[in-house]
């Protein structure tokens, strides 16, 4: 954990002065409290994976977020920003402890994190207990904006259900009638395939078999043989990292790619294409971002991010950037007073985010309502094909706010 030089200003006293909507309204009329607020730095807790498998994702999220804030002068609502970084190690067992360290120990004004769904679930619990403001820049765990949704929890990325739905819809549009799904036996896999099923059903398609591999097993040969004997019209799969690489290669090596099309969420071919090689050629996936998206904000973002970090952009950098944009907008509306929660949250919720992925807004469950794109792997790159579904919101039945 890296701690920056200690700043002993207690946010509590400021909260006492400015607490409540009335005080915030007063702040917009009289400059005095705003000037006082500018004196203290606003504390952002960044709980992200800075080591391990997801380190690259964590760094892109953090750098994307800082890029958005630095574009606006490096301040949030007129206040200087202090980042408190904490490596979550993608370790769910330490999730609650680490989140408490930032929220209770460091008294951060805003908590941002994380990549791993299991860790994010622990952060959601802490945010609910402590009434802390939480922005989730990646983890797609359904409950965060479903069963466990709360006014103080925002997600700027996606829910696991979302990238599956448009793929199902596209598969049905292409005339496929029945499908087999294959994924690891864990929550993210179930949520993703449920999305596909729902999308597939809108076009009259039916999933006949759900094949499951114990997590994190990567021996697929038995189930590939099973797919060959079922002979569905198409296969939908959700694997990530090493599993995604191996599955795509094994699927091709088993000769199935020639006769049964393979579909998946964009994560199947994100950051894995080099290792997948020719086996990934022609694969269709759906996601809320693709690098060659033809809009001016994306062009500018790609150049700026590359300049700031010397790294190419990816979907994680975009999600980080949007997290930064949402914070800038929300805190500008309350002149940097993160304790004026009602107005702060209302401002974020009403924001039309001018994102590199295309404009999006928050749903009632505070998850993005966003366009999903059909992408195709051509020559080792994901290429934009068309908009698969416009302004897709996750189902909000489970969320009491919606």
């Amino acid at each position: 954990m890296t701690r920056h030089s200690s700043d002993k200003t207690l946010p509590m006293s400021r909260r006492a002065v400015l607490g409540g909507a009335a005080a915030a309204a007063a702040a917009s009329t009289f400059p005095a409290p705003a000037v006082r607020a500018q004196g203290a730095k606003i504390k952002i807790g960044l709980m992200l994976p800075y080591s391990g498998t997801y380190a690259a994702l964590g760094n892109n999220i953090a750098d994307g977020m800082m890029l958005a804030i630095n574009e606006k002068g490096g301040k949030l609502g007129g206040r200087e920003v202090r980042y408190v970084k904490l490596d979550d190690e993608s370790e769910p067992a330490k999730g609650a402890q680490n989140a408490n360290k930032l929220v209770v120990g460091e008294k951060v004004d805003i908590l941002v994190g994380t990549v791993h769904s299991g860790v994010a679930a622990a952060m959601v619990q802490v945010a609910r207990e402590e009434q802390a403001t939480l922005l989730i820049p990646n983890a797609g765990v359904g409950d965060a904006t479903g069963k466990l949704c709360a006014p103080n929890i925002f997600r700027t990325s996606f829910s696991n259900w979302q990238p599956g739905f448009p793929m199902g819809k596209v598969a049905a549009e292409m005339g496929h009638k029945n499908a087999v799904t294959i994924t690891w036996k864990y929550a993210a896999g179930e949520e993703s395939t449920q999305g596909f099923k729902d999308g597939f059903a809108t076009g009259g398609g039916k999933v006949t078999n759900d094949l499951r591999v114990p997590f994190p097993d990567v021996e697929f040969q038995a189930l590939l043989t099973e797919i060959a004997s079922i002979k569905p019209d198409c296969v939908y799969t959700f694997f990530a990292g090493g599993g995604a690489v191996k599955f795509v290669k094994d699927y091709d090596a088993a000769g199935l790619k020639k006769s049964i099309p393979l579909y998946g969420p964009g994560f199947l071919t994100d950051g894995t294409l080099q290792a997948q090689g020719a086996s990934a050629d022609g694969l269709l996936t759906t996601l809320h971002y693709v690098e060659d998206l033809p809009n001016p904000i994306n062009q500018k973002f790609k150049a700026d991010f590359q300049k700031a970090t010397s790294r190419p952009v990816d979907v994680y950098a975009v999600q980080g950037y949007d997290t930064g944009q949402v914070l800038v907008h929300g805190l500008t509306a309350v002149k940097g007073d993160a304790a004026a929660k009602k107005d702060f949250y209302a401002a974020m919720k009403g924001y039309k985010v001018p994102s590199p992925r295309g404009e999006w807004t928050f749903s009632k469950s505070q998850n993005p309502v966003q366009d999903f794109y059909l992408r195709k792997v051509v020559g080792g790159e994901n290429r934009y094909q068309k908009i698969a579904v416009k302004a897709l919101a996750e189902p909000t039945d489970a969320c009491k706010m919606a």
Binding site: S51, G52, T53, Y54, A55, A56, K185, L211, R212, V213, P214, P216, D217, V218, E219, Q221, A222, L223, L224, T225, E226, A228, S229, K231, G241, G242, A244, V245, K246, K249, A253, A254, G255, L256, S259, I260, G271, T272, Q274, A275, Q276, G277
Partner: protein, 289 residues
């Protein structure tokens, strides 16, 4: 189930089992003869996989990578035995577990520093690149069959060395009564170094051969470690023959577990282990004791 698909699944199970044997054989040697619990066995596998990736990328050929990588792995095994394991033969298993677990952490971190966290692919060698059409939709990659062939050759080679050569006799005798072998004038220290290096070499070789099948990613070593211990325990500690039978059993149990009882697929292998240990607590070919 269609008989043709049943046969293909048997092939899947046997093929997976042979690959598992290749990985587990080194562990059973070290465990059985040196009585050392080597948790870092998976790390040698990982090192093999990364060597295959690194050297194949440079030389363009997996064969050259294996020829170049194998001596490196043997050398590393030699160094680890001479500098660390050597001092633990008389200590209890807990000390060995502590040291070899520490090795896992160090080697994983080294891997991350050198190669990063990305997933890498290793191309299948040109001559085995094809596949055999089995049904109208399914074909079988030739490389998988080639790996099975390599494993079979290795099984025979190991059996011959252990059963018929003087070195094999020393190894067998050393695993029964080390002091007696020493009294008869055999340099047991040297024998131990040799066996440990061979174990590390076998694990690394398995990692290299499996790299084109499994791709190369962080944590690849831990992945196979547990299943290796399962095989060693089922087969009887130290028995190559036992490890061979056990690996085939585990391969088949895993394959048919996934199809027949998908809800309990993650348990099928352990159910087989529990059943066998109830019947023979010392494992299939283990010495009762």
């Amino acid at each position: 189930m269609d008989p043709l698909f049943f046969l293909i699944q048997v092939l899947n199970g046997v093929q997976y089992g042979l690959l598992l044997f290749l990985i587990a054989s080194g562990l059973t040697l070290v465990f059985g003869i040196l009585q050392v619990i080597n948790l870092a066995h998976g790390s040698f596998y990982m090192i093999g996989a990364y060597l295959a990736f690194w050297l194949t990328a440079r030389s363009g050929s997996l064969w050259i990578a294996i020829l170049g990588g194998l001596p490196l792995a043997l050398l590393l095994g030699f160094a680890v035995e001479r500098l660390m394991i050597r001092f633990l033969y008389k200590r209890d298993h807990l000390t060995q577990v502590l040291l070899t677990y520490g090795l896992i952490l160090i080697l994983n971190e080294a891997q991350r520093l050198i190669f990063g966290s990305d997933v890498h692919g290793v191309p299948v060698p040109e001559i085995f690149a094809g596949s055999i059409q089995l049904t109208d939709t399914l074909s079988y990659p030739v490389y998988r069959l080639a790996v099975s062939g390599i494993c079979l050759i290795l099984v025979i080679l190991m059996m011959v060395v252990i059963q018929t050569t003087r070195l094999g006799m020393y190894i067998r005798a050393g695993s029964v009564n080390r002091e007696m072998v020493q009294l008869l004038g055999v340099d047991v220290q040297r024998l131990c170094t040799l066996v440990f290096a061979a174990g590390a070499g076998l694990a690394a070789f398995a990692g290299m051969v499996a790299a084109p099948l499994s791709s190369v990613y962080p944590g690849i070593g831990e992945h196979i470690l547990i299943i290796c211990f399962v095989i060693v325990v089922i087969g009887g500690i130290g028995s190559i023959k036992g490890a061979f039978i056990a690996a085939l059993l585990v391969g088949l149990a895993d394959t048919f577990g996934k199809i027949a009882v998908p809800e309990f697929a993650s348990m099928s292998v352990y159910a087989v282990m529990a059943a066998i240990l109830l019947w023979r607590p010392q494992g299939l070919f283990g010495r009762a004791g």
